[in-house]
Amino acid sequence: MKRIVSLFLALMMIMSLVSVASAEERVTLTMMNRLPATYVVEGNPVIEALEDLLNVNLEIEAPPISSYSDRRNIVLASGELPDIIYVNDTGASYTQWSRDGLFLDLTPYLNETDMPNAYKVLTAQELNKVTVDGAVYSLPRVQTKPMDIIMYRQDWLDKLGLEVPTTPAEFAEVAKAFTTMDPDGNGVNDTYGWTLNTDKGEHPRHMISGFGVRPSDVPDENGNYELMEASDEYIAYLDWMRDMYAAGAINPEFYLITANNDDELWYAGKMGIRYVNTNVEHYVSDLGSTNWANPDREVAVAAPLMEEGQEKAAVYYPPQTWGNWAINADSENLEAAIKFLDACYTDAVNNLLAFGVEGITYTTFNDEQQYALKTPEQREAFDKYCATYATFNYQTEDKGLLIVNGDTIEETEAFAQANNNVAEKTERISYIQGSSLPGVSEVSTACSDEGLQDTFKELRTKYICGQIEREELVDFLKNTYAPAWQPMLDIYAENNLNK
C-alpha cells in the first residue's frame, strides 16, 4: 500500500513538473475533429510532432465519424465549444450558426499579418463558399486539383477492337458493345456498360460535359441565366441516357445504386465503365488492389466526355472543398487559436498530417510530386497515425495532387502519368456557386416543400427508364420546374454571379 502511495506521489510530482515546464510557454487548445475509426489519437507521434512544431498542446475530441453531425450539433448547442471545431457543413445549418454568432468572424484576420498562410493559400472563390452575409466564419479545407475521370476496361476494349471513347456517341457505342458482345467471353450476355450512381451527385460532370450543359450559376454569353435541368442541353443528355437504357447499356436498376455499390459491380466484372469524381486515390488503389475477381483486368483512364469536334472536355468546377474549420467565438485562447489554424494552412503541417513522420510512417517523401514511399510496416503505422481526414488543408494551389495511397515508385508514376493524360484533355472552368447568396435557400426550401425536387427526380428516372413520354418530362421541366426556380435565377442576375 505504502509503495503504491509513494509511487503515485512520485508520478504526480513528475507530471506536475512536466506540465509546469510546458505550461509556461505552451497554450492548450481544444479541438474537435472528424477522424476515421482506425486513426489513433492518444500517443500519436504525428500529433506530437505537430504540437512541437507549433508549440501548443492539443486536446482532440474525435467523436464517431458515422455520427459526427449529431455530436457536433450537441456541442454547438451546449455552449461549450472547443477552441477549434471542424464544422463539416457549408449549407443552411452553417449559415444559421454563423448568424447566431457561434463562430469567430475571421474576416478581420484574413490578411498578411494575422493569418498570412491562409490568406495566401485560399482563393476568393473558395472563401466565397464559407462566406455568410459578407463575412468569413470558417476556413474551407480545399482540394484544388481533383479531376474527374472515367475508367474503362482496356482488356474488354481490346477484345472487341474498340478505342477509348471521347464523345457521347462513341461512349454509347462502347457501352452498348459491352452489353451485347460478351466482352468477358463467358458465353453469356451478363455484362453491361456502366451505371449511374446518384449518390455521387445527381448529374455526373463526366457525362454532361459531352453535351455542353452549363450550371445554373453560370450565365451564357448574353448574361442570361437558365435552370440547368430545364435546358435543351440537359434534356439532350437525358435523351442519350434513355437511348442507352433501352439498349441495356446502363445498369437496368441504376436507381437502386447507393453509396459505393457501383464499385462492387466494377470489381465483379459486371460492367466495363466506371466514373469517379476525383482521381486522387482511386486510380492508384484500383491498380494496387488485388483486382479482386478479375486478375487479368487492365484499366484505361480517360477524361470526361467532350462535345463533338472539340479538343478538350470543358468541365465546370465549383470550388472543391471538403469541410471547414471554425474558431469558437467565445474561446479563451482566441489569439493562439487563430495562429494555430493559420499555421495549419502551411505545406509543412499539411505534409506532416497527410504523410506523417519520416522513419515512422514513410521512408522517403517527394515534396514536389507529393508522394511518400513506405515499407509494409510503415504502411501499417501510416494507417494508424495519418489520415486525409486529419489534414486541415487537403491540397494547396501550387502543389500537385496528394498521392497518399501510393507506396512504391511504380504506383505513383503510373498515377502521375494517368493524371497528366487526363489533365491534357480537360479544360477546367471554375465558377462560384450561388447557393450561399441571400434568399437562395428560401427558394430551394420552397421547392422541396412543394415536392418539386422529388417529382423532378421521379420523372427524370422514369424518362431514362422509358416509362414516360418525352412531352411529359419537357412539359414539367419547362412549365413547372423552371418557373419555380426562377426567383433563384433572378437573385443570381442581381448579383451578377460569375459574369
Binding site: N73, P252, D449, D454
Partner: protein
C-alpha cells in the same frame, strides 16, 4: 380490508391513515416516480423548440417565438398531405397485417410438442431481429432484383412476368410489409408466448376430459388467456399509427417509388437534418405525437367501454 395488526399509534385523519396503512406501496412508487420526473418530464421543455426560431447560441430559453410559423408552413406545404397519407396508409396496413401475424405464430409455436424443433424454430425466428436493415436490405435487393434476383427468376420459371418490386410505386408497400414481417414477426411472438405460459395446463386437461376439441380449447382457453395482452399491444400499436420508422423506409426509397415512400420520418429527416431546420422538424414531430396521443387515449376509452383491458 384486513386490519393491519402492526399498527400501534393509529393516525388521526383518514388520509394519513390510508397512507400509513399502504406505506409500502407508496414507498415503492418513489424510485419510479423520481425516474419519471427526472429523465422524462424535466427535459420536456425541449418541446418549446417547435414554436421557436431556434438559435444555437441563445438556446431554448433565449430563442424567439415565431407565432406557430412552423405549423402554418407544415399545413400549407404542398407535400404535407402526400406525406400524411403515405404515413397513415402504410401504418394501417401494418396494423392490419403485421399486428396479427406474431399472435398467430405464437399460437402455432404453442402447438409444437417436439422440444428440439420448438427450440430451434424459436431461435431461428428471432435471428432477423438482430440484423440491421442495411444488411437485410442488401439481401432483399439481391433476392428481388430484376437482373438476376432469385424471386424474379422463379416467377419467370413458373411462366410469369418479372415484377419490379423495388422500383415501383405499386410494390413498395408490399415490400415494406413483407420485409417487416420477416424481420420482426418472430421477435414479436415473445410477448405472446409469455402470456401463453401463464395459462394453467389444468384448464386444458379439464377441457379434454369434458371432450372439447382442439378448436374449442383454442377459442375458450387459449384466446381468453392472451386477450388482455393482445388488447394492450393493440392499443399501443394504434398510438404509434403515425410512426413508420426511419431506417427501413429510407433504405427502400428510390426515385421510382418516391410518391408512396415519403413518410413523416423521412420528410423530417430531409427537412431537419439536411436543410438544417431543427425547430421545423421538432414541430413536425410534435404534430405527429399529438395525433398519436389522441389516438391512444381514445382507443383506451373504447376498449374500456367494451370491457376489455385498458391502459389506465
Amino acid at each position: 380490508m384486513a386490519q393491519n395488526m402492526a399498527v400501534i399509534n393509529k393516525p388521526k385523519t383518514s388520509l394519513a391513515k390510508h397512507l400509513y396503512k399502504n406505506r409500502w406501496l407508496y414507498l415503492m412508487c418513489i424510485p419510479g416516480l423520481a425516474f419519471l420526473i427526472i429523465f422524462k418530464y424535466i427535459p420536456m421543455y425541449g418541446v418549446i423548440m417547435a414554436f421557436q426560431d431556434f438559435s444555437f447560441k441563445k438556446g431554448i430559453f433565449g430563442s424567439s417565438f415565431n407565432n406557430f410559423a412552423h405549423f402554418k408552413q407544415l399545413f400549407n406545404s404542398g407535400k404535407f398531405w402526400n406525406v400524411f397519407t403515405n404515413s397513415i396508409v402504410l401504418s394501417m396496413l401494418k396494423l392490419l397485417i403485421n399486428f396479427p401475424i406474431p399472435i398467430l405464430l405464437a399460437l402455432l409455436l404453442n402447438e409444437l410438442r417436439v422440444k428440439w424443433f420448438k427450440k430451434v424454430t424459436q431461435t431461428f425466428l428471432y435471428l432477423p431481429h438482430f440484423m440491421s436493415w442495411i444488411v437485410l436490405g442488401g439481401i432483399v435487393n439481391n433476392f428481388l432484383s430484376m437482373n438476376d434476383g432469385v424471386i424474379n427468376d422463379l416467377i419467370v420459371m413458373l411462366g410469369g412476368q418479372k415484377i419490379n418490386f423495388l422500383g415501383s410505386n405499386e410494390w413498395f408497400r408490399f415490400v415494406i410489409i413483407a420485409t417487416n414481417i420477416w424481420k420482426e414477426a418472430g421477435w414479436g411472438t415473445i410477448i405472446y408466448l409469455a402470456a401463453l405460459s401463464s395459462i394453467s395446463p389444468d384448464l386444458y386437461e379439464a377441457a379434454t376430459v369434458d371432450g372439447a376439441n382442439r378448436w374449442q380449447k383454442i377459442r375458450h382457453i387459449t384466446l381468453p388467456g392472451i386477450a388482455s395482452t393482445v388488447v394492450i399491444t393493440l392499443v399501443l400499436q394504434i398510438g404509434g399509427l403515425m410512426n413508420n420508422g426511419f431506417e427501413q423506409i429510407y433504405l427502400f426509397q428510390n426515385d421510382l417509388n418516391i410518391q408512396v415512400s415519403e413518410v413523416f420520418e423521412i420528410y423530417t429527416y430531409k427537412i431537419g437534418i439536411v436543410s438544417g431546420r431543427y425547430s421545423y422538424s421538432t414541430a413536425v414531430g410534435l404534430f405527429k405525437n399529438v395525433i398519436g396521443t389522441i389516438l391512444i387515449f381514445s382507443t383506451n376509452r373504447i376498449t374500456k367501454k367494451l370491457g376489455g383491458a385498458t391502459l389506465f
